[in-house]
Amino acid sequence: MDKNKIKKIIYMDYAATTPVAIEVKKEMEKYWSEIYGNPSSLHSLGRMAREAIDNARSRIAKILNCGTDEVIFTAGGTESDNLAIFGVAHKYKDYGKHIIVSKIEHHAILRPCEVLEKEGFEITYLDVDKDGIVNLEKLAKSLRKDTILVSIMYANNEIGTIQPILEIAKIISDFKFKMQNERKTLPLFHTDACQAAGFLDLNVKNLGVDLMTLNGSKIYGPKQIAILYKKSGVKLEPLIYGGGQEFNLRSGTENLPLIVGLAKALELVEKNKKFEVKRLTKLRDYFIKKILKLIPQSILNGHAIKRLPNNINVSILGVEGESVILMLDDYGICASTGSACNSKSLEPSHVIMALGKAEAKEVAHSSIRFTLGKFTNKKEIDYVLKVLPGIIERLRSISAITAKK
């Protein structure tokens, strides 16, 4: 085992986070110690900072095809998701207290929903099919007069399944049309697009969303910086109060270097999107095909085609995910698992559990996720394919569960 070991790191956890692009770092550089003014200050340094924020905002707005006043900067995808959920819930609670989300949302959506349940809101958790796609019929049936928000992620972070956002938006708008009453702006539609950025269409006019979360750390930008797109006319109750920055929706002195970095990162992934989607889809399909062929008792989680170009999620029955991850780590390979033993909650992946597979818990505990990125090449994949079967064989020999036919 040791002689195959290499020092090089093979990073296949791009869905967890990405390295900051050199170009992004360069763009951020002068906003740490040179143009450090507070954008709210009237003097020249303040004005320069303000200008840089305005510039970054309009560059992002251009990509999303929206107005600059529709882009709110926050400190991360989690905050954007929280702002969308709590912001809508608390602002529109007099119109209704019903919210619809999918069962496979990120915890940044699900945990706020649990808090709202305690506040007296009613949350519908929509089922997904065996590939992780939201049941549209159930969505249509779940919409009620008192539904104020629907939040369904664009693409799933664990299994990479892409949701039919356009169809969901259509169902919601049809419902609104049918309802035509004094509150025809409701329900609002939010999507968490953190994983989708860089791969899928981000034009909010095409998508038909009212709110959309995007963050820096998944697109070779800095961490702890994100935006919440908010269609003009949509109201939100802030999470953070203070100096009234970000259109009174997110107080606190703007983090200028990160904001500039986010704009640059988004531009870069948009520019490379077409090429990368094609390249990674090919690598992904090769990787999946090989794993399923080389490793007996392995199954693909998520949809085979309606899937992010960089996501590979397989369950290798009879072995526990964390053990596999640690053994891969010994070879310098960085991957991830939905096993409970890798989580703080001690519950296995709620996403894989929601797929309704037989022996769901075992499938979830055995799941391994490889997510590819701009530095992934076929050579790296072949290396993983070379060491993985041996790791699985070894762990299966220790395993108390004999692989079933």
């Binding site: 526990e320 053990s323 033993c341 022996e359 818990k361 020999s397 220790i398 108390a400």
Partner: protein, 156 residues
């Protein structure tokens, strides 16, 4: 500058964050027992190979442990202990360590071995991340199940 900070680091070296819930670092002993587990059975046991078997956990919960023991009937000492687990690194390492503790120095007497707590195993492993402690209790439970199985077989 660099020299100075290095020196300082040495002085504060034993000051660690009290928030162990975020700590994922495994000790060298844990790693050794994970990568080179002792006493695991890489096959199904042969008939009559062991005196008793204990099974705990379920695949649904993400952990299954099977343990087999061989006991010296005269001295009541554990002559051999083998195991298999569908478990995480911690489960593998702690069971491996448990098996060493029970069989070392000519084997432990059953009653003594029953007194081994998961904490004892964790101690021998050089500690575990706080949230992984629960993964270490399986060996203990499987051993108790195996002893129970042994005693009931002896009565027959």
């Amino acid at each position: 500058m660099i020299k100075k900070s290095k020196k300082k680091k040495k002085i504060i070296g034993d000051v660690v964050s009290k928030d162990v819930s975020q700590n994922w670092v495994y000790s060298a002993i844990v790693k050794d027992h994970f990568f080179h587990p002792r006493n695991f059975l890489d096959r199904e046991p042969k008939k009559g190979e062991f005196d008793a078997e204990g099974i705990v956990g379920s695949p649904a919960c993400g952990d299954v442990m099977r343990m087999w023991i061989k006991v010296d009937k005269k001295t009541n000492k554990i002559k051999d202990l083998k195991w298999k687990t569908f478990g995480c690194a911690t489960a593998i390492a702690s069971t491996s360590m448990f098996s060493v503790m029970v069989t070392e120095n000519g084997g432990m007497e059953i009653n003594e071995a029953l007194k081994i707590t998961p904490q004892d195993v964790v101690k021998r492993l050089g500690g575990l991340p706080a949230i992984k402690i629960h993964c270490s209790v399986l060996a203990d439970q499987a051993f108790k199940a195996a002893v129970k199985n042994y005693l009931s077989r002896q009565r027959k």
